[in-house]
Symmetry: C2
Subunit: 335 residues, 2 copies
Amino acid sequence: MATIQDVAKAAGVSAMTVSNVINGHPNVRPATRERVLEAVDRLGYRVNVAARNLRRGRTGTLCLAVPEINRPYYGRLAASIIAAAARHGLRVSIEQTGARRENELAALSLSRNRLYDGLILSTAGMGPADVEALDVDHPVVILGERIFGGPVDHVAMPNEAASEAATRHLVERGCRRIAIVCGPLGGEVDVSSLRHAGYLRALAAAGLPADPELVVTTRSLTMQEAARRVRERMAEGLAFDGVFCVTDTVAMGVLRALADAGVRVPEQVRVIGFDNVDESAYLVPSLSSVDPDHDLMAERAVTLLAARIDRSGPGPEREEFTGPFRLVVRESTGG
Amino acid sequence: MATIQDVAKAAGVSAMTVSNVINGHPNVRPATRERVLEAVDRLGYRVNVAARNLRRGRTGTLCLAVPEINRPYYGRLAASIIAAAARHGLRVSIEQTGARRENELAALSLSRNRLYDGLILSTAGMGPADVEALDVDHPVVILGERIFGGPVDHVAMPNEAASEAATRHLVERGCRRIAIVCGPLGGEVDVSSLRHAGYLRALAAAGLPADPELVVTTRSLTMQEAARRVRERMAEGLAFDGVFCVTDTVAMGVLRALADAGVRVPEQVRVIGFDNVDESAYLVPSLSSVDPDHDLMAERAVTLLAARIDRSGPGPEREEFTGPFRLVVRESTGG
DNA sequence: TGGCAGATTTTTATCGATACAACCGAGTCT
DNA sequence: AGACTCGGTTGTATCGATAAAAATCTGCCA
């Protein structure tokens, strides 16, 4: 593999000049540039990025740590992040944490390894107690979850407000016994808890009782678990006429369970999800959902991170950005 | 940020000894190891991966280039690849090519930049004509598509055989006018063409005529395009009693289009897909599909790549591995 | 023609970790 | 006792690119 020295020799110039040509610096005579480019071409030279990274103290790569890339929401997120990062001249490496706290912490330490210039962490397993691990000098943005008072930037979903709106939508469509399907409610400030809070607010605002029976918790936010738990609870006699699902993935599991039980959606039960993943529009029935504007949030997260990377050090004030949302009404909540 | 030199000074040893401790080399006295680890801890030292990469000539990272991470199949693939790579001590960076030839070629040149130790390329836009671009000295594995005679390793889907089996399954269930929904058939050796060939073989074997009318081509393999084209063709009067969809994503679009037209699945039309993504089991009706054993293929691809990375150079013979498959029968092809 | 500003190019020093070979000291063998 | 092992440790050179400073070149003007 040819090095910059080889090219320099071949073109009869110094290594620095080759470097200047490659990096598009001004003040290189056109004739020289030509000669260098010709040599680069002839030798099939490619910069050694490891060497460049070492010298520059940057890797040009940021890390996106998500629970599982294999869930529509995270796939959607990753696509947006990769696109946004590309606009900033950054590459994206993806780590899977499996929603496990230790792996999320490991992702943090990886970024300290200077493998990545920055980290976008989509937390699921970490709690507020772990916030201390975050007072890193390394650029980090937490995405999708709000951890109060943390010392890092956040780009948060409009969890409560949007959940309240989604639940209110069910109320407006005439639902009176509205269930929620969510993950474990451990009191931690996680997605399920926040969305559950929004759900409760909507019920209260509508003067509906908050029956704890109607809270269906699952071990994890997967289709499988959601379907299993809903089947279970229905077998136990749980009755409801509306369901707010904390994610579209969960909603897919719920729709399946309802179909198995011969329950018609939306005639007997109305269903609404959260995330508005691509698939939601194509399900039968198509799924109403909260659309949180992934692209905007991704752009925001990458911009924040890029800003911290540039002026490394304490930098600007910690920022907390909560994205906008809109309700997308489809068949699952009736016409 | 502390360097290995700082740690060495703090522990009263040489940098080499610190390096030895960090890399778990034998022949370091326990007492020394203790002292070094204590210093590492106290200074919060982290290896600078860029420096290590430069010295070692490896980055420990491989690149997975896919059309769009935001499609269930590629999400599934990425998850498997990341897991398999982790077992080999490798990290995975994801590039999106948008199924465009130039971006796929760019991914190849990226890997030549020595940014990555190797490349797993899931082609969609490149044709056999581009195979020449592949005679790189860099480890590359093409995944999911078969390009005949290419000079690189392939881990291929059992495209023809599985498509034939899927189509035969429809025949066995009584279908007589079986449509196929696929991407453009340009004569290139791409996914659509190969699966189309399998479809034709099954029809021929069953003695059914191959009506060109029944071939519904789309511009791209997305839900949106699939749904649009099927609606269009049905509006033109196209009639069929079975559909083989070249991917599950396409099948989701088709199911939606059928629902819009008031066609019942599987009573009036049976539908089968390809890929067996997680969502397929939860659709209503649940989708029959070809399950190509993603984990095995991922493991295989990573293993091949890792082998080439280790003994860099010409290495072993080019390998062509075609994965196994099984048919998963669900509601969409009737009980 | 000498001198100078600005454009080009080269020299030098480093980024931080690690391969390699040399070195050191305490047993061990004869 | 002296040569010899061998585990443990260190000095030196190097991976390839680039920032910063120094050197050289160019054209232009007095």
